[in-house]
């Protein structure tokens, strides 16, 4: 028992915090929606880190798939079916299909060139969202839709006007997604991804199809990204085209770095820091908060490159 606790201390702390977050947030003067944002953006950052930190591939275009998930759920509920779960599924499928199609075009690129191609591809979806006014609502975003309660037959989950219920709804999907990602990383397939990160050439010489593995990792990463985007849209009952814009991609990357890319939970910690910081900054310097966000980027790169978890691990190692 003691050994179990010691080995899983970090997991236990994280889950305890996540399960009690709405109460903790209210206790320290925050609000439940802030906690939901941490969980949803944390899922997005962890999904990105699956590719960035664990496969070692520089993607700067992940906001596109986050946004596709968001538009998927919004468009489905608005035009086709008043169902939260069906919308969620549609959002995930939309993001996954787009990633699967674009993947083969980009997996041969590496390094900064991969980053440039991914970020440029992301812009297609942004312009579609902004220009296809009639369907997407254009620059004003997709409105006039909202999440619905879920009727499971034996019981009913009320999500409308119940922020705490929605928090646990989002946490459920977060838990499933994170468990799947952890299981994949522990499987032989996941070990291959780590091998690609550590030494791509050597992995190729072992007879492994590196490009296919990068494509698969990209697909997994973008699929969970779309899930996060869909949850984000459901939380706000609104889709903002800026969630697709290239600057948003950079924000997801900084979350990963801020928390620590080499740690499984790092991106979640990074997302939490970012969400709280942004909430604070936008209340203090409302007009120019983006300037300070930029300053945070520069400061992290120059003074804090290992991130929170990296620094923590270093300290405990000493």
């Amino acid at each position: 028992m003691q050994a179990f606790v010691k080995q899983n201390a970090l997991n236990i702390v994280i889950w305890a915090l996540l399960l009690t977050m709405p109460f903790l947030m209210n206790a320290v003067g925050g609000y439940t929606q802030l906690g939901t944002q941490v969980v949803v953006l944390g899922l997005a950052a962890m999904a990105l880190n699956f590719l960035l930190g664990h496969t070692g591939v520089l993607s700067f275009g992940h906001a596109a798939y986050f946004g596709l998930g968001a538009y998927g759920v919004g468009l489905t509920i608005r035009y086709f079916e008043q169902s939260t779960l069906l919308g969620l599924l549609a959002g995930v499928v939309l993001g996954a299909v787009a990633a699967a199609v674009i993947g083969p075009l980009i997996v041969r690129r590496r390094g900064v060139y991969f980053a440039m191609v991914t970020i440029a591809f992301g812009q297609v979806f942004y312009f579609i969202a902004v220009r296809w006014n009639k369907v997407t609502g254009g620059d004003d975003g997709l409105t006039n839709w909202a999440r619905h309660d879920i009727n499971l037959g034996f019981t009913k989950i009320t999500l409308v006007n119940e922020p705490i219920h929605f928090y646990y709804f989002a946490l459920f999907f977060f838990a499933v997604a994170v468990a799947i990602m952890a299981a994949i990383l522990r499987s032989p397939f996941g070990r291959v991804l780590l091998a690609i990160r550590e030494n791509e050439r050597r992995t190729r010489f072992l007879g492994i199809n590196v490009n296919f593995h990068i494509w698969a990792s990209w697909l997994i990463s973008c699929t969970f990204m779309a899930l996060a985007g869909a949850l984000f849209a459901l939380q706000n009952n609104f889709v903002d085209p800026h969630s697709l814009y290239w600057t948003q991609s950079g924000i997801f990357v900084i979350m990963c770095v801020l928390g620590g890319m080499r740690s499984f939970w790092g991106p979640l910690v990074g997302a939490a820091i970012y969400v709280v910081l942004q909430d604070y900054l936008s209340s203090v310097v409302s007009d120019y908060w983006q300037f300070f966000v930029g300053l945070v980027f520069v400061a992290v790169v120059l003074f804090f490159p290992r991130g929170f978890m990296g620094a923590l691990r270093r300290r405990t190692a000493e």
Binding site: L52, L58, F60, I102, L105, I106, R108, R109, R110, G111, V112, Y113, A115, M116, V117, I119, A120, F121, Q123, V124, F127, I128, R131, W132, N133, W246, T247, G250, V253, I254, V257, Y288, Q290, F291, V293, G294, L295, V296, F297, V298, V300, V301, L302, P305
Partner: protein
């Protein structure tokens, strides 16, 4: 109809010339330093606003001459004190650094010069249309094209005929060997960055006269510049120039037939190029 098409092709060429100026600078920096300069659009905005501020004191021509030089000096300082510190580390960090700088530049220009768009005066004789029928051919537009041609021609000359150009080209192929042969690589990268930023500043001044001054002026041209590099082929300056002009014209022509798709079309072109010729039109296979 012919006139409408001609009008849009002319417009497209001009926008394409901006993209090309930006893309060539980005490509220079990327080839030698392995850095994607996301702040490139920010430097364009700085160039444009500096020209606006200087014009009352030194006139239009003085602004045209001085603003890009001042922008390049800011670029040299930024490279020296910030960007050069992340060379040799995971490329991720340089991307995040310039990303943060892009945020700071955009809000910084908003802070200093305000969010509303500002008028930028171009001498009126330059703004006259040259012919009644082709009213869109103003002197300023031809002047811009000529200036871009001179800048690109000058750059190609520097790259192919001077020692600095030789060293930059050698550095993009094998920086370590160049360093061992006694070239100060720090200075080389610094100067190369400065050249790229000078082109961005020049594009900024020209854009100020054509598109007007807004803090978001830089953000709107940076992504098409990436596309120009990818289509033209990384490492080939001629290819990048071609890519810039090509997407400008394509975007202009699409504006005639299907206006809402005029922005998205260049990304479709990029996808096609990556599918058929992944290294880009004039790029070499295997470099990236």
């Amino acid at each position: 109809m012919t006139q409408l098409i001609l009008f849009n092709v002319a417009n497209g060429l001009i926008i394409g010339a901006f993209y090309a100026l930006m893309a060539i600078g980005l490509s220079l920096i990327m080839s030698l330093s392995d850095v994607i300069n996301f702040a490139h659009g920010g430097f364009l905005a700085v160039g444009a606003y500096l020209a606006f501020t200087l014009t009352p004191y030194v006139g239009f021509w003085g602004g045209l001459l001085l603003a890009p030089v001042l922008t390049a000096i800011i670029g040299l300082i930024v490279e020296k004190f910030l960007i050069s510190r992340v060379y040799g580390r995971d490329p991720l960090y340089s991307l995040l650094l310039t990303f943060g700088l892009a945020f700071m530049f955009e809000d910084g220009t908003r802070w200093i010069w305000g969010a509303q768009s500002l008028p930028y005066e171009v001498p009126s004789w330059l703004m006259q249309p040259l012919s009644q029928q082709y009213f869109f051919l103003t002197g300023y537009r031809l002047f811009m094209i000529a200036l871009v041609a001179i800048a690109v021609g000058g750059l190609f000359y520097v790259m192919s005929k001077t020692r600095l150009g030789l060293r930059i080209r050698a550095g993009t192929l094998d920086l370590e060997t160049v360093s061992v042969l006694g070239v100060n690589v720090r200075v080389l990268r610094n100067l190369n960055f400065g050249i790229g930023i000078y082109l961005a500043g020049l594009a900024g001044v020209l854009a100020a006269g054509q598109l007007g001054l807004e803090p978001t002026i830089g953000a709107s041209v940076i992504m098409p510049s990436f596309v120009a590099i990818i289509i033209g082929g990384l490492g080939s300056l001629t290819g990048t120039l071609l890519g810039g002009l090509l997407i400008g014209v394509a975007s202009g022509l699409t504006g005639v037939f299907l206006p809402p798709a005029s922005e998205a079309v260049i990304y479709v072109m990029m996808a096609l190029v990556l599918l058929v010729r992944p290294q880009g039109l004039l790029g070499e296979e295997g470099r990236f």
